[in-house]
Symmetry: C2
Subunit: 136 residues, 2 copies
Amino acid sequence: MKIYFAGSIRGGREDADLYARIIDFLKQYGNVYTEHIGDTSLTDKGDEGLSDRQIYDRDMDWLLKSEVIVAEVTTVSMGVGYEIGRAVASGKRVICLYRPQEGKRLSAMIAGCPDLRLIPYQRPEEAESVLSEIFF
Amino acid sequence: MKIYFAGSIRGGREDADLYARIIDFLKQYGNVYTEHIGDTSLTDKGDEGLSDRQIYDRDMDWLLKSEVIVAEVTTVSMGVGYEIGRAVASGKRVICLYRPQEGKRLSAMIAGCPDLRLIPYQRPEEAESVLSEIFF
């Protein structure tokens, strides 16, 4: 199975360790694209040495040939929102992992979208438990 | 002409005055949907009294029946990213207005996308000048 993982890069790297953990977990179920999003040495400057167009073309290619998109949507990110929009428009299975936080609200474009599965969680183990039921 | 305007709500309302100005400007060219995004009394809590699903259904209906999408992408927003993704996937004309800022970088999913027109600007007059050439 081809899985595309989406997490924030230029929107902020606060959750990079968490992304790495989720990607590691997902690897048991298939090939995970955009694995570098969990690379903690990657800064919010993004992929060095590639033009924006090259990054876009590579990521869209990966996204459109994946069967499932898993996005961590807690850190607000324009790119993750874009990728979810493209995935939903393509009729792909989309799973959004979200850690509800006091004083913040998830976009209604994600929270209100009937064409994706939203998984609220706090500890990584909780997200992994639900993912293991989905992918088993 | 039906124009959909996209700007940040839950991602942050710092640019609400600017959104209001752009929407006012766009009105001379057609009907502008999501006009309330420029309402400075609207907080980052978003539309009170509507469920996320109701907001989603209304906004997607507006987006998909619009000919042109104009998005202000300076404030990072998951919802604006989602809407741009849906608009690009639908083959609509998409215009993104962006104010480059020191120490911040626009997502490669927007900056590298060949299917939208990115307009960097600083003063509102500059954006309006380009918009007036596009819509005239």
